[in-house]
Symmetry: C2
Subunit: 118 residues, 2 copies
């Protein structure tokens, strides 16, 4: 009853370089908060995929500094562009950034469950 011991070659080859992992993780972390997701979603739904900050503060039910902080994080992550227009500030979605995330999530060989080990 001997088994092929699966243990323990020193693998984890290049798979995902540590620097890439950190960069990607920072992106996901920016999306890992319900408030930020709703802000992003709301802005993306607006006419030019942009919105004035003054529209965003009140509906969230959070304080103005908190909303400003979340917008800054989304901006730092490259998910939002910032543009000042007179006294107001507009944030616009950066679709390329979202596409980059989608691209990072493509799975190799998605469906091979049926015809194996026949």
């Amino acid at each position: 009853m001997k088994k092929f011991s699966p243990c323990c070659s020193p693998v984890l080859q290049g798979s995902l370089p540590k620097s890439d992992a950190e960069e990607l993780a920072a992106l996901f972390k920016a999306l890992g908060d319900p408030v930020r997701l709703r802000l992003l979603s709301f802005i993306a739904e607006q006419p030019e995929s942009e919105a004035c900050v003054c529209y965003l503060t009140e509906p969230t039910g959070l304080s103005q500094p908190t909303v400003s902080h979340h917008l800054k994080l989304l901006h730092d992550a490259g998910l939002l562009e910032r543009e000042k227009r007179g006294a107001w500030v507009f944030y616009r979605v950066v679709p390329e950034r979202l596409e980059a995330i989608r691209a990072a999530l493509v799975t190799r060989a998605p469906r091979v469950r049926e015809a194996k080990r026949a």
Copy 2:
């Protein structure tokens, strides 16, 4: 020099329901750590998109409890399936879950910058 005051109708319609936002955010949070991304990436690259835990502990440079903890978080998020085989435990990637994330990131009207306001 009067402007259309952009302030402040009580919007943020349905956009992203709070419950959906929390669920999605939990998913992104699970991906928001470089260690977990590398674990996921490594497992996804293996023959059946699965790997024994014993392969995963040492290469990360982290302690066994820490790796176990990260795997648990990925499992709780539905990103990994867990299967015990004798004394060993294998984790397998759940591609549907990754696809679900990709689907959530589709952007409406990605490129309309050129031909506007002609």
